[in-house]
Amino acid sequence: MRHLVLLTTFVFILSVASAGAVFAQSTFDLSISLPLTGKTAKFGEMQKKSYEMAAQEINAKGGVKGKKINLTFEDSGGKPEVARSIAEKMVDVKKQPIMVGEYTSACAKAVAAVAEERKTPYLVVASADDDITQKNYKYVFRLNPVSAHYDDALLAFIKDVVKPKSMAIIYESSPFGTAGSRNMVKEVEKAGIKVLVNEKYEAGAVDFKPILSKVKGANPDVIYMVSYVMDAALLMKQIKELRIDSRLFAGGAAGFDIPEFVENAKDAADYVVTSTLWTPQLNFKGSKDYANKFKSKYGEFPSYHGAAAYSAMYVVKDALERAKSWRQDDIRDALKATNMETAFGPVKFEDREGYQNQNFSDTYVRQVIKGHHQTVYPQNYANAKFIYPIPKWRERK
């Protein structure tokens, strides 16, 4: 009797397992690791929504080679050690042939190491640290530009339009802020622009007025800042209070590039320009559809983080369709041969300037005009004319 029970259970388990296997064959399971809690959760949340949106669209059109994409998400909390163990689970346990995702550079580095070790292709979506694609990794691909190129368009704008003689730089003492400042100093000094003040601050500072009065005393033509949201707003508010009349206020993406910046800084945000990797006003295939769909569903336009995630899904789909088989190496070769246009812009993974498998997409400049971010530079992408020279504080309103 006891044997019979055991046997039936065993048979039952077997049949369930095989049913599961049959079911799995009609879908393509893809786990994505993201920060859904912690400080960077806001970006992870936006990316999750964008991945889902793209997967739904793909599934509605018949999926990948007839298989529906079945997305699941794992929360890394922005912690590299957690991201690493998630990646190991994906490859070793779930036998997933491709990995996508993560947000912070630290986490992406952890996942990239696993990917290279286990020879599984990994597509980095929004992590900017230069050296992720500088390590001669064969299996790591990156969709977003590297941080050294974040300010390309902004630099061109500064050199061509503003033509300043001097600059002040204020940046957050994080890897992102430090890298931003270092690149900027290197580039402007090449152009003969003098850096008068180059100061870092600890995130969460209450009062920027002392440092800003020093900047005011130095009287630079351009003030360039790299900050997170709230610091960005505080900086511009206090610049307004002190009436520092530089010819241009420029931000390096991140905190200056999201709607919360204008919400918090209000009129002090006017005429501020910022670097960005993507804007809802761009004219790539599917950009506007994505932006509008996201807005009607979630109430606000996505930032480049979302667009990159949305496009990454299509890049994966494209690679899976072209791959000879869905084994890791074949998918890797297919990814390497990618040449397509996405909502994020054209995607092609190149080896140059010391980077491997890096997509070099354009960056853009946005300016806050009448309380909204408008794309103003380079001119072929612009949807509004930039406003320069900007009015002095005393003359505003």
């Binding site: 969460g204 440092i211 005011k216 508010k237 009436r243 918090n264």
Partner: protein, 308 residues
């Protein structure tokens, strides 16, 4: 030369305004320190709670943060009273291996508060975008031909003035009312106060309430020009702690002077050394105060009085 003068004066103004608010944060801690002989390490978290109260009132009921001082401070008073009565007093009675386990208790309370705030409000940054946030008064508006331009931010000035009014009110309360005198008596000599018929237990509860209310008021004064997130408390606990040490443990006048010194010192380091140095400066002051002025500013004041 004029430019240098302008930079210096503007920095000094920023330092004094910041110092006034620091003083208010420090006052609450020093008061509790004086009476209870413990450092309340949940001080910054109490401030965070009051900031969330002000934020909620502003966002959902459109109440100005300055008005919510009158709502948040009493609420924080009650919170402080409850903390003292139901958490700290029972712990005081228990014998333990650690002599200062009430201090450890306050750390725990701080963590609980921060995590509750994360649960309710998520870890996102919040702010109260008030319409007058960037309004400022300018020297050149008053004095037309002024060779230098100085700006006085309206919300900073208003916060500073309210902080001063609260401080004067506290001084009045402590020196002129019976309850205030009882509190001071408890702080000076607990046993003597007990023998003189002071209800020491009640005074402890009241003091903790007042200390919390003070930092609650400080939270409301801070939020128009700052922002908030659940883990913001630690930073301000630290500032209050430095001020308490600098001012002399338990001295109210010391805390006010300590707050001003810290505010001005931080602003000066930011201008003349670099903003990254401000936190370093804070600890240099802290260590210097412990080594060279163990009694804090209060001991200087006392020495002078004895000299007369």
């Amino acid at each position: 030369m004029l430019v240098q003068l302008e930079v210096f004066l503007q920095t000094l103004i920023a330092g004094i305004l910041l110092g006034g608010l620091y003083a208010l944060i420090g006052l609450g801690m020093t008061l509790i320190m004086g009476v209870m002989k413990i450092i309340n390490l949940a001080h910054g978290e109490l401030m965070m709670v009051s900031m969330y109260i002000a934020f909620t009132l502003f966002t959902y009921f459109n109440i100005d943060p300055y008005l919510s001082v009158f709502i948040a401070a009493p609420l924080l008073f009650l919170l402080g009273v409850a903390m003292q009565k139901y958490l700290i007093n029972p712990v005081l009675k228990v014998d333990s291996i650690l002599p200062e386990n009430q201090v450890i208790l306050t750390v725990g309370v701080g963590m609980v508060l921060a995590n509750i705030a994360t649960l309710i409000f998520t870890s996102d940054y919040k702010s109260t975008p008030v319409p007058y946030a960037t309004t400022a008064l300018y020297l050149s508006d008053i004095w037309k031909d002024s060779p230098i331009e100085l700006s006085f931010s309206l919300p900073w000035i208003v916060s500073f003035v309210i902080a001063i009014i609260i401080t004067i009110g506290l001084w009045f309360f402590l020196s002129r009312t019976d309850t205030g005198k009882s509190i001071r008596a408890t702080a000076q000599d607990l046993d003597a106060a007990l023998l003189m018929g002071v209800n020491v237990k009640l005074m402890r509860v009241v003091t903790f309430g007042i200390g919390s209310a003070l930092v609650g008021a400080a939270g409301c004064l801070f939020i128009p020009m700052y922002y908030l997130y659940p883990s913001l408390g630690g930073q301000f606990t630290l500032i209050a702690f430095v001020i308490t040490i600098l001012g002399g443990l338990g001295s109210t006048v010391g805390a006010i002077i300590g707050g001003l010194i810290l505010g001005i010192f931080e602003s000066m380091t930011a201008t003349y050394l670099g903003m990254g140095w401000a936190p370093v400066g804070r600890f240099v002051i802290f260590v210097a105060a412990l080594i060279f002025l163990p009694g804090g500013v209060a001991s200087l004041l006392k020495r002078q009085r004895l000299g007369k």
